[in-house]
């Protein structure tokens, strides 16, 4: 029963497993499901394993039992993209005007509705023509603006109101908010970074080593011999380099800030440097990148066991990365292209990772990301990405 419903769920991307579907059949056989309301709740609890899919489930349910229009997945993404564009427009009209290639004054005359229409039209042109165009209104519809972990409105979805039928409840789409990414909080980052540590014995011998104690006691013919060890302390050295320049990193400032705050509390031996776009001859220890320059060559003298973490979008014009004198800052004259500086750092620090706040889906479109990925293992600046990066940084090879 309801085989089509099951396949529809899978079609829209809800990873419902055959096992769970059989389980639902079992529940029905046991007589536990006697109404459509029961079916709505039970099937969701059994088949859908993440609240992020609740909204999709509601849509499929409404479609299946009431023949509601099921928007194609692209349509849903477009929704998102349009909403994000609107938000961005409210915050920064000039940036949007520039991206759409229109005069800011003209844009200000548009109503939000007209803006969206204009945007959708542009998007259509773009798909057909296959221009590279402005990446951030690409067909995937995930604008980098939306990725800064902003969570508009918070989760204000109410509990069930059971006076309504299940179909009505499903049509309400109560779980819409959950389909978006939540705010990265300090404690979540803490969880992810917890494994990033290197424990070494430190301080007085005040820790009982049980295994050794038993072993020595046996050797001593049962006369108890207690063995003490030094306790373990974290002695991991970390260098954090942050791209803090230019508008391209602006949307991610919040999330990087949280990461940085956490890192500062957590790691005893942490050095932070700043750069703009890419790394040339110098990085700076002060955020405005003016007073405390540090020659990149000098990093060659540091302990190679130090973990190097670079945070940046790695997106720039190819010449900025490849050419000598590639820096966009006129006062920086450099003879070695940035790419060689990066290679130098990667060679010196065996354990290095690049955290990129852009969504992984977009990396493919940016040439410099491709190039830098060959030098540094690159990870998304999300919870999952952080975990992967930490695992990579702690690998012993």
């Amino acid at each position: 029963m309801f085989v089509n419903f099951f396949y529809k769920l899978r079609e829209v991307g809800i990873p419902a497993t055959p096992t769970s579907f059989l389980r639902l059949q079992k529940a029905m056989r046991l007589g536990l499901i006697s109404s459509l309301d029961d079916f709505y709740t039970s099937a969701r609890a059994i088949l859908v394993k993440s609240e992020r899919h609740f909204d999709l489930y509601d849509q499929v349910f409404a479609h299946y039992f009431r023949g509601m229009d099921l928007p194609d997945p692209e349509g849903i993404e477009l929704d998102e993209a349009a909403r994000m564009l609107l938000e961005q427009w409210l915050r920064d009209p000039e940036g949007v005007a520039e991206a759409l290639g229109v005069n800011p004054e003209d844009l200000l005359k548009l109503s939000p509705q007209e803006l969206i229409e204009y945007f959708l039209k542009r998007l259509k042109d773009q798909t057909e023509a296959h221009h590279g165009g402005n990446r951030w209104i690409g067909t995937r519809g995930t604008s980098p603006v939306g990725h800064s972990g902003h969570h508009p409105g918070g989760m204000r979805v109410g509990g069930a109101s059971m006076n309504k039928s299940a179909v009505k409840v499903a049509m309400d789409r109560r779980y819409r908010d959950y389909s978006m990414q939540g705010l990265l909080t300090q404690s979540q980052i803490g969880e992810a970074l917890k494994r990033l540590r290197y424990m070494v014995p430190f301080g007085p011998k005040d820790h009982v080593n049980i295994d050794e104690t038993i072993y020595e006691t046996m050797r001593n013919a049962g006369e108890i011999e207690i063995i003490f060890d030094r306790s373990l302390r974290d002695r991991l050295k970390i260098i954090l380099m942050i791209d803090n320049g230019g508008w391209s990193m602006d949307p991610y400032v919040d999330v990087v800030q949280i990461l940085f705050d956490y890192a500062r509390n957590q790691f005893k031996d942490l050095k932070t440097y700043y750069f703009h776009n890419s790394i040339y001859d110098y990085v700076w220890a002060d955020p405005p990148r003016r007073r405390k320059p540090q020659k990149v060559e000098e990093f060659g003298r540091l302990d190679p066991e130090t973990r190097l973490v670079i945070v940046g979008d790695a997106s720039m014009a190819p010449y900025e990365l490849m050419a000598t004198d590639g820096s966009i800052h006129i006062e920086e004259r450099n003879l070695i292209p940035s790419i060689d500086r990066l290679r130098f750092l990667a060679k010196n620090f065996r354990h290095a990772a690049w955290l990129n706040p852009r969504v992984e889906m977009e990396w493919h479109y940016v040439r410099t990301i491709q190039t830098i990925r060959m030098i540094f293992p690159m990870f998304e600046l999300t919870l999952d990405g952080l975990e992967k990066a930490v695992r990579h940084l702690m690998k012993n090879n």
Binding site: A45, M162, R174, T185, T217
Partner: protein
């Protein structure tokens, strides 16, 4: 056996159906949701309503699965073998095996509710291995080469605060529910259960203020049900408090609602601006 709610727990019918179906299918129920939506309280309510003992396993990040199953108390055995002043038989390792929380739930003579709280704190291996144990309802004690088989299948409730998903094999073996934050209407019911004698207008004023405070942007830990209940308790114990003060936008005892100092500062500033306007 059906679960229909408990004395101090306001049950949403949707959740009741999910609890009942999980019990009938003998599957663990995984609950997610914001802190303060009553995930942990649900297990207490089930235990109370079905009159079963509750066993709570508080998961910690450093925890190993075996600790949740059983512990082999080597130190006591070493001590006994050295001084020999206890009644235990040193040559029988079985006497030094102590059951952990999951072990206790398995060997219990009657069916129990097993709450595994904040599973997301442990690493993925712990989670997957634990589900293996819960799936087979048995585990081995390697030291004495004995298999412990569950006498009664416990009702298992697992909670998680994490935004990110647990591993696929884990999710595959659980039923899932996400508890949304209560609506103001449901919150009114919850408050009535906790403060049966509370005046209507005070209850309304408190709930209105509470939901307004939850809207303040830039807060890391939003006040939840627990904070609201404590806050009302604080207000009622203050003889100088008048309901009208809430209407004017004043919020006494703000520290009860915001426990992080950053959040407290943000909320204070926000309120100060609100009153001036």
């Amino acid at each position: 056996m059906r679960f229909t709610g408990a004395s101090k727990y306001v049950l949403d019918p949707e959740l009741a159906q999910i609890v009942n179906i999980s019990m009938a299918l003998e599957m663990p129920l995984l609950l997610k949701g914001e802190p303060g939506t009553g995930k942990t309280m649900l297990a207490y309510a089930i235990a109370e309503a079905l009159d079963m003992p509750l066993i709570v396993l508080n998961v910690k990040s450093s925890m190993k699965l075996v600790e949740a199953l059983y512990q082999y108390d080597t130190l006591t055995r070493l001590n006994d073998s050295r001084f020999g002043d206890s009644k235990r038989d040193v040559s029988n390792i079985g006497e030094y095996i102590k059951m952990g929380k999951i072990g206790q739930a398995f060997v219990s003579d009657i069916r129990v509710v097993l709450l595994i709280d904040e599973i997301d704190k442990a690493d993925t291996d712990f989670q997957d291995d634990m589900l293996d144990v819960l799936d087979q309802m048995s585990f081995d004690i390697v030291e004495i080469d004995k298999t412990i088989q569950a006498r009664n299948r416990p009702v298992i409730v697992i909670t998680s605060n994490a935004k990110k998903d647990l591993s696929d094999p884990f999710l595959g073996r659980c039923n899932f529910h996400h508890i949304a934050f209560p609506t103001p209407d449901l919150m009114r019911e919850i408050i009535e259960v906790h403060f049966p004698a509370l005046e209507r207008d005070l209850s309304k004023a408190c709930i209105d203020t509470f939901y307004r405070l939850r809207e303040i942007p830039g807060i890391e830990k939003k006040p939840a049900t627990r904070e609201l209940i404590n806050w009302i308790r604080a207000l009622r114990s203050d003889p100088d408090f008048k309901t009208a003060r809430l209407g004017k936008g004043e919020v006494p005892f703000l520290g009860v609602l915001y426990k992080k100092s950053m959040d407290f500062t943000v909320a204070t500033q926000h309120l100060a601006r609100g009153i001036r306007n």
